[in-house]
Every structure is written in C-alpha cells, then in structure tokens.
Symmetry: C2
Subunit: 265 residues, 2 copies
C-alpha cells in the first residue's frame, strides 16, 4: 500500500507557493505598457504570460524533474508522466492588458490524467483558492463551501463573455440563462473562485482550454460543488471546452438537463 | 467676484472622505448573507444600499444643510439648491450581492446643474478616483490621464452587460463594438475609472441613471477624456441613460459617428 496523502499535501503546498510567487511576478507587468502579440487563435499574449510560465516551469522542473508539464504558452513535455502540471500563467490576458484586476494564475496537477491539485491565484487581489483531492478546498487558508443552491430559478449565473460562444452555443446559453435568478458577465477564472466560496451558484462557459478548467476541478469538488462538460462528463485534457460548474450536484443536474433541452429545442 | 476654487477644493476633499467612510461601511455587508429586495424597476436592493446612503446623507446635511441631495435609494430633496449632491451608495448592487469586488460608491456634486465634483470609491479594492472641475483627476492621490487613443480600430471597449440594452440599443452597440480592437463585459463604474487611468479606451452603455453617470463627468474630463450621451450632448439629470465615454475628444467623436451610422443603418 502506498500512502498518497502526504504526497498530495506536499504537491498542494508547493503548488500554492509557486502560484503565489508567479502571481507576484505578473504584477511587474500589470498596468504597464506592453507589446501585445496575437497568437494563432487570435488571442493576445505578452511578455508577462511567457515569463510567468517560464518561472513556473523552472520551479517545477527543479523540484519534480520527472513530472510532465502542459503550459498555455510553452507547450507540452513528458505528458506520459504519472504527474503532469498544467499551467495558465495569466488566465484572462484580455483583463490583464486592460488593467482589470480579475486575472488569475492557474495551476493544476494531474495524477494519471485526473486533476488532484488546483490553485486559483488572483495576484492583483491577493486572493487564493487551493484544492486538493479528498480535502476541503481552502480560500485564504480557511475551508470554504459552495452555497446550498439546488434550483436554477434561485441561481446566480456568471459567464465571461457572449463572444466566447459560437452562435449555437450562445443560443443554448441564452435559453438556459433565462431560467436563472440573475445572469452576469465578466470574470474569467474568478467566477469559479466565487462559486467555490459560496457567493455565486453557477458558471456556464464555452471555448475554454484544458489549462483554463483543469485546476477548477479539485477546487469545486473540494468545496461541495460539481463541474463537468455540457454532456455531464468529467473534465479531462480531451474535453471540448464547454464547461458547467455548479454549487451542488443537484444544481449541476438541473443545468445539464436545461442545456440538453435547449440543444434539442 | 467670488473665488470658487477654494470652495471646490473643500467640496472635493469632503466628498472623497465621505465616500471613503461610506465605502468602508459597505464592507460590513459584503460577502455576508443579505435579504435581497426588488425595486419597482426590478433591480435588487439591500440593507447595505439603504444604510450607506443614509450615512452619506446624514454627513452631507450636517456639513452643508442648504445643499440638495439626490440619492438612488432615498430620493430627492432641495433639488432647487445651488449645490446638489448625487449619491449611488452601491453602484453594481448585482456585483455586491454576488461577492464581486468591482462594486463602487459614487458621489457627485452638481453646481447649477453641472457636475463639478465626482468620486468613484471602490471599497473592496481600496481604490479611489477624485475629479474636481478644472483640475487634474486624481487616482490614489496622484494625477491620472486617459490613453492617447483616438481611433475606434485601436480602442479597447467595455460595457457592463448586454442585458442593460434594449434590443435596438444592443443592435447599435453590437455594430459599433465590431469596429474596435477588443470588447469586454462587466465592470459597472469601474470601467470608467480604468478609462480615466489610461488602461482602457472606451465605454458605451445604456440604461444608466443620473446617480450612475454624473460623478463620472468631472473624473473623465479632468483626466483628458470626454463623456456624453449617444447624441453627443453633455450629461445632465435629464439625460436618457445612454452614455459614451472615451479617452479623447477625437475618439468620442469617432464613437458618436459610428453610433449615428449604426442607428441609421
């Protein structure tokens, strides 16, 4: 028998410290004039994204040389390893380059392809969520819980932007979101943090990448919430980028049913 | 001849202090379970909105008993006075009740119906903009400037939510916003602060109330920007709630021309 708990604790502590240091580094470029390059998918990228990821990769390779790494800016290496780190150095680059403080640094660890560690670091706010599989999620060091919301009609829903959806996806989102108590826009990864801390109830998005959503899984599940793709399947590196995260399994089921009905209608 | 400069400085200093104190008070109810009531216009309101406005009104009445007051929650009094204070105790109540830190406390002073003082206080962020007619706008105590953006194609544009527009207004916004470099959602009053500080270039909104926009006028104008209604008219208590704010008079003119073209098309 192998005792995994200490290993997970060690990984979680290292991930939280590394995310904090990386986030601090990002502030060197926040609200400073930057050259903005455009990637193949037309998303913006700056020296901040690239340098913050390089810092994280260097720390991970030094401490865990046999682990794999999958980063937004510098690609994949050792993806066959038992542990793979997933890095989004600046989640919300469009927020970052417009001086918006709700950008985050995201870090996940996959063990045999399953996310077991997740960190949401909000450098400009000084806020941090840490999720470790099988443990309560911590916000600012203390355990946090999702709300007890179980019904769409009572839910407050966030999504980052209508522009993240294709037309069919937007039609589905629009129909589902008419059934909730309130819908709001903006937020990137921060919405999922507020969901884990019990302040909002539901997030529905599309167009996400693995480095956008894998860190969210241990955070949401360790706080009592649930997260899946639009078909209700667990999120993996192979998911299609359409994500629904809810305060409770019951609310997730209700949202999935509403999505299915909207797709049929 | 009456020397108005000292009076404006005094008003500005008092407004900034009062907004800071009111914002601190709002934090007592932030991320705390609250009863949410619904107003006649279906917008939400809580004890926080009402109490923060009451605190501000009490301070203003004690210091300036002959001034008028126009507040979101507790109405209008002495509107015929030379000076009228305009209060939005919590701009972004939907942000506030979902634990979102980008809500603000807004305070304006009108002199003979013209906004001469404006304060954007962001209690959860500890950030503050103060505008005084004829003086440079201050962000965190230091003068701030808008960007030098003059062309739509180079502009980063924010608006709070598609849901704030009626269908015709959304069609206009959508057409205009396709001409900018990037469009983003979320923010309430904070967008105008980032505009004054040079981080974004353009804000186009609809459905605003006088207490949402009057404080923004001295802040934008004192930072080198420009703000008007969708027809290019100065904002007053009688405006229709459709607002465009830009980093420069040139960009405002370009946005107004694009709005006019979109309305005709």
């Amino acid at each position: 028998m192998r005792d995994l708990a200490p290993a997970l604790d060690d990984l979680g502590a290292f991930a939280a410290d590394a995310a904090r240091r990386a986030g601090q580094a990002s502030l060197n470029w926040f609200r400073v004039p930057l050259t903005i390059d455009t990637k193949a998918d037309e998303s913006p990228v700056t020296v901040a994204d690239r340098t913050v990821e390089s810092l994280l990769r260097a720390e991970i390779v030094e401490r865990f040389p046999d682990h794999g790494i999958f980063g937004e800016e510098h690609g994949r290496e050792r993806m066959e390893a038992e542990h793979v780190w997933v890095i989004d150095p600046i989640d919300g680059t469009r927020s970052f380059i417009t001086g918006w403080p709700l950008y985050g640094t995201l870090l996940a660890v996959l063990r045999q392809d399953k996310p077991v560690i997740g960190v949401i670091e909000m450098p400009a706010l000084g806020e941090r969520w840490v999720g470790i599989a099988g443990q309560p999620t911590r916000f600012q060091g203390a355990p946090c819980r999702t709300s007890d919301c179980r019904e769409l009609a009572a839910a407050s829903l966030y999504t980052t932007s209508p522009d993240a959806f294709d037309p069919a996806g937007w039609a589905v989102f629009d129909r589902v979101s008419r059934q909730v108590r309130t819908r709001r826009f903006g937020g990137d990864c921060y919405s999922y943090g507020l969901l884990a801390a019990g302040h909002i109830d539901l997030v529905i998005e599309a167009g996400l990448q693995p480095y956008d959503y894998l860190s969210l899984v241990p955070i949401l599940e360790g706080a009592g919430g649930a997260i899946a793709d639009w078909q209700g399947r667990p999120l993996t590196t192979q998911s299609d980028g359409r994500v629904v995260a809810a305060a409770s399994p019951e609310l997730l089921a209700a949202a999935l049913a509403a999505i299915a009905a909207a797709q049929e209608g």
